[in-house]
Symmetry: D2
Subunit: 469 residues, 4 copies
């Protein structure tokens, strides 16, 4: 029941899991340099619990469980949700705008399971939740199926395995087959919770399944994305050389799951609700972990504008103001979503869905416009400037020092320039940009959720009254 | 010290004030039909205090003052600000999206004066504040000078009277000359508080003046705008036939002001601060009174879409969702501005300026886009449809009833159509639209205030850390 | 075959047509003041043909027909389309941003009929086209049915008359019943062409009908919209006091149409094509007549900014630049649509649909944003200023002259202010705004047309090549 | 006077020029793998002249010069400009959305020099122009100085070398010192033309200098940017593995320039005009070379949407339509800019500046929004998918083939996905995005140019007439 250290965490990952990376089978996730960056980054979620500065935020205590990671505290109030948001923001801030996610997403799923389920399934979810909490585990969630042709339902696909499905049910448990994609942090998690990705009809019953498996389960293979692979020097890549999250194609090749880890089996009528309830938490996690990113955009734009000597230009002021409005609207709505919390099934609190989705929508739909403003403040040097090897060269550095000084020293300016480049113009930036559009549900999904979550009673009644109806 | 009734209020306005309307001198503001509509509309601020439904919100009590209008309660906390916001929203809702403003704006100015002033001027402001509260008075604020050529400072204008200025100072008081424009509700107020409109330099000392005069002061003439004049039938103009606010050109032709009503005299160094402090309250008043308007847009768009039978169309859903996001972002940020209150000089609370300005900016900059969406949901009938006389005609009505039915009856549909037309396509709508851009400060002023109010410490420090500086 | 004068036109309208306005039956459209404004405005289409300045643009000649109105010239080339565009722009410019439309829309329909029809129907259309040309007639088009519940097809409506339909067919002709709405300039036209409003299925055969009737046909009643009714003084309403277009609800109460005026009868398979072909011309007419409007926005914003003394302010420059980009993009795409003309059936040219729709879409979707910019340049005086009676009053005018001067005289400034107010903030402005969204097809219809008209071959092939497919 | 082959071109670059890349001095630009990619890409400009498909577009002929590269044809008409635009578009299309630029930018500068100069300087420019044409040379333009603190003028910088300046003038020529940045294709050009970057005052006379030097001039060092360095496999990086442009920091360390290559020396009054005239051509080059890029966005979005099976979804249609409008508005305005050509000094034609800048502004300000739409159509797989080594692995590929099939095969879909990823989410995409904002002048510069180029006469006169002035 002890809080793991970062080293404990690293050690625990050498468990025989089946991983592939860049075409090769990887024996130890901590030994492969690219993957190690991600492991070390994720380990932040363990470090904060042992860091006096963050301990109050990161560690919860209760009589039954003793000290445990605050990520696993079941929220009962707006204050709990606010504290959770601050913890996520803090650790993501330490993680260079990249969320660690190894406890965030898992606890989102655990809260959802404990709200939606009833009876014996609820008991299993509660037991599994205690298991995660007490073991201080890193927990991934595999939700998005590979989906095949998006215009067809799960059962109507050319290959029946394009959504994860139950292929066998017996006294001991179930056997599942299929694949999930975009599974974040699974390569360095202990457990993987599998949730349905959408509402389902009766014909899709086999696909209405939720369960948990350890990362080294037999038959489970994970194919780590090669996106943004490769060693990077830290002068040129101040963020991407240090902060990294891994995604996998997560393949279930007839994986056996014992009943005590099965949370839903062939209950299509509940699939949509479970998917949506998870998202209620997960979008709040999302807007919380976006806060360091929006601050980084606003802050780096102001910093580079100052170093370029353009802080007084009217159009630069205007762009900085847009960045402020953007960052602070996302922040304000996130805070408000917690303050407007509601209490759901089994006395578990959740953030106001309308406000959460508005925060996420605001973040997602203006993100690319903000990139334009940051790039505009920085200048073309973002993509035409010198790199780390230039800086390290005794022949080249003096030239750079002479010619790249502006309102600040060449070194400071180049460092900030590379920060902006990493953040907005290279693969790390592209990762953030694509996540803005797609992670935790698409923009379209957020719009639908806003339309549904909005209580139109007041506005409709008011319009009727004004019209004299 | 009693709370006036609406009739008390109406009666009190026949006080010999000098008013001009449509080229004529008006002897009694309550007897001129167009102006009477505005008086009756403003009287709502008195009615709510006697209405059991609203009394708790509208009436404050304290040992010294007894019962008094809650508008005049000096805010000490976020809850006070929230209650004030709800009162403003409620009365504006009763007023058909048009703010009454006769106590809102005056109390905004009184709070500002009591925060910014010191010494004997503070005592005068406090005494005047008690006078307004105890007399349950309607109080206008004349702030915007006519300004002449905007590229020149007050003292540099071709005519020295283009900003209100002190022309004489003697033992008893001061004499002022000049004109203010856009003075809302002055024609039906008891008192008029005059504030400087901008920061001023030493050469503008004569223009750095703040004071209060009764509406019937000698030498004071008010020229009521003819905008949206004329009698209107309520079928065709459901809002503008009933809800109206008056603006005046307010001319001070050597008006004497005794010292106990002079709050600032030739103190240019304080002019900017007073102007800005007033705006801190007044923009919060603004976003509070915009809430019924944004609800009316969202509600009437949904209602007319339903009546047209287009509620299922994807692009209509999309527009309704945009209206929801708009209305609810303004609402959310307004609520948050109160929750993030600060306590200023002399222990008077004020809403968070950054959040208030973001709410106002969001409202102002997307307003016209929202009009487009509402009009899109409604259809061309907004400007090609039948009017009240058509509806009243026994020959015409049956034709309309047959041909204008859709998913609702022709009557309901035409009523909602006229609501939308009044709200978005006629002079009442134009009034709202121009106010969105200009009232309580321009969009540019809001952007500047956001840039100034933003504390960039966190974001800059974070960017520096990420860049390794 | 002579070109009518404006007086000929006015005289010709006293023909016993059945008109209703503001609940009353109107005996003579030229005698009712509000309607007379519209008649005089429309008469511009006749005046230009007799005005030496415009005659070259306005009059066409050919051996068979002699001199005739250039509106009726069948386009054979891009130059013909450009000339047509310039004529429409010129007359609309004379008409104070309001299109006259009495020959524009009719000729749009005549071109479409002569492209789509074949056989005896084509002969009828050609004969009718000569009739309009040779008689120099004013011709309205009634296309939009009242439609009832938009989610239902014509035949599925609760009342079968909610789309115009054939109720009888006999040796002499057909009998039609139903109503069209938004019928522009019908009240002051000679002829009314009726076109189907949409694609139709076999069950809607009765509704697939196109024909022409004289404005005084038995059984035809027109209910003129009361929108923007009432006398206006020209100081306060410089545009709406002089320029006006009328719309009617156009009711066919068993109107008989002889065969030689029937262009389509129960041919649902052709209804969509005819509707769309008309729109190909009519949207080009639309973007042509929008050019004076976008110029008026850009010009009046610059003029009022200059008079306010704010022309050097960065944010004002920015808004003026946005207005320029807007106006000139619409203008440029309109010009290009003609240059990229195509030649359709029966050798009749038409403007490039993709480019035309992009011009219209650009105009429509940014219109409200432009209103915001114009209003921002002008100031709050738009809705708080003095009116015509104030200006005419010897008591009030001197006060206005003193206090409303800025970088220009008070008179010039107030005149431009009222121009902007009429154009953007009152019912005339609302009319333009709603037309921007709905006239000549909705924004959604334009988007669909762009998607369909775009030839994706080049882009798809290029993407395939880049991907190595 | 022969047209060089691609091999001639490659061979000619081994000329002893001083190049640095990634901290090392490079002896031969064609031997360094990363740089070789750029050389091969640039060689396209030579290949097209020998390719029968493109020869007509790529080769010009005249009696004096014989056959020569059409890039160097001095434009005399709109047709010449259109042909030039098509040539640039065609070669950029072959170059995978990346402009080759080795003749485009140089000829832009040569046209500008030949319009702006007079007398002996004009003769030198003409002679140099013939030299480039007859030698079929690759010509870079170094315009943007490193600039130091942007809030200070050239002469006011802490280091006088932060703008390139004349340090000595003698009988034979001048000596220059300083550095230019963002110099595109200089590393693989034969000649480098140096132009002033901005308007200058009398105190900046030393900085008002324009000249040409060969790429291997003594004292000239070029530091190639390391942006997007490194070897890439073509499955994962279909564009960036093959198409590349190099930028250098171009340092003049007391470089001698003989008088016959000096085009401007200490003529600050002409600096701004020369800078601007170059930009008149160069922005037209820019919008021409952006056309394959906007097609690639529109095409790849449609292709991946189809492969994902989401082509029928309303919101996807909407995004594809936005991409069409974007791509086609840029294309349309580019075409129109040529059609509206003007003839400038010395009978040299140039594209209409207003229209050119509107095309560029439209491209630049909506680019990031378009990236969002493309990414939205593609899905999260953009950043979570498998790479080239995965695809090459016999263990992994079958898994990918099974699970990544959708409405198309896994291979096709992954190839298009990587195309989109390269184009929008990785460093190649970031390069395009930053160029959209900064290349050929910033967005702010384009706005200023639009404001200046617009002839407001028509709109102002119209507004005055409407206002009755």
């Amino acid at each position: 029941m002890a809080l793991l250290t970062a080293d404990d965490y690293r050690a625990s990952l050498s468990d025989g899991r089946t991983l592939f990376y860049r075409g090769r089978k990887i024996d130890d996730v901590t030994a492969e340099p690219d993957l190690r960056v991600a492991v070390d980054h994720a380990a932040l979620d363990y470090e904060v619990a042992h860091n006096p500065t963050h301990r109050d935020l990161a560690v919860a205590t209760d009589p039954e469980a003793g000290d445990y990671s605050a990520y696993y505290r079941i929220p009962r109030s707006g204050d709990d949700l606010l504290a959770r948001s601050r913890l996520i923001e803090t650790v993501t801030g330490l993680g260079g705008t990249m969320v660690t996610l190894i406890k965030e997403i898992g606890s989102d799923a655990l809260f959802a399971l404990q709200r939606v389920l009833e009876g014996k399934e609820l008991e299993r979810a509660r037991a599994f939740s205690r298991h995660c909490r007490d073991g201080d585990l890193a927990v991934a969630v595999a939700q998005t199926d590979v989906k095949g042709d998006r215009s067809l339902a799960p059962h109507a696909q050319a290959d029946p395995d394009l959504y994860v499905r139950v292929v066998e049910e017996n006294a001991d448990g179930i056997v599942v087959r299929g694949a999930k994609c975009h599974t974040s942090i699974s390569a360095n998690a202990h457990e993987i919770i599998v949730l349905p990705t959408r509402a389902m009809g009766p014909e899709d019953a086999d696909y209405a399944v939720a369960f948990a498996v350890p990362a080294n389960a037999a038959g489970l293979s994970m194919y780590v994305s090669s996106y943004a692979a490769g060693d990077r020097n830290s002068f040129e890549f101040p963020l991407s050389s240090r902060y990294k999250m891994l995604e996998t194609l997560t393949v279930f090749d007839d994986v056996f799951v014992p009943w005590d880890r099965v949370f839903m089996c062939r209950q299509p009528e509940k699939a949509g609700l479970l998917a949506l309830t998870f998202v209620e938490y997960h979008r709040f996690t999302a807007v919380s972990y976006k806060l360091p990113l929006v601050d980084a955009l606003a802050g780096s734009a102001a910093l580079i504008a100052q170093m370029n000597g353009v802080l007084k230009a009217g159009h630069i002021r205007d762009k900085l103001t847009q960045l402020i409005i953007y960052a602070e609207t996302v922040r304000g709505l996130t805070e408000l979503a917690a303050q407007r919390f509601r209490v759901g099934e089994h006395d578990i609190a959740y953030p106001d869905p309308l406000t959460t989705n508005m925060a996420k929508y605001t973040f997602a739909t203006r993100y690319h416009e903000m990139l334009e403003y940051v790039q505009d403040c920085a200048g073309g040097l973002l993509v035409t400037g010198p790199g780390g090897e230039d800086w390290d060269s005794p022949d080249v550095r003096p030239v750079l020092e002479k010619y790249y000084r502006a309102a600040g020293s060449a070194e400071d300016r180049l460092r900030v320039m590379h920060l902006v480049s990493d953040l907005t113009a290279r693969d790390f930036g592209g990762y953030h940009a694509v996540l803005a559009v797609h992670a935790e549900g698409s923009i379209e999904a957020e719009k639908m959720q806003i339309f549904r979550a909005y209580d139109s009673t007041r506005a409709l009644a008011y319009a009727r009254r004004l019209a004299g109806l």
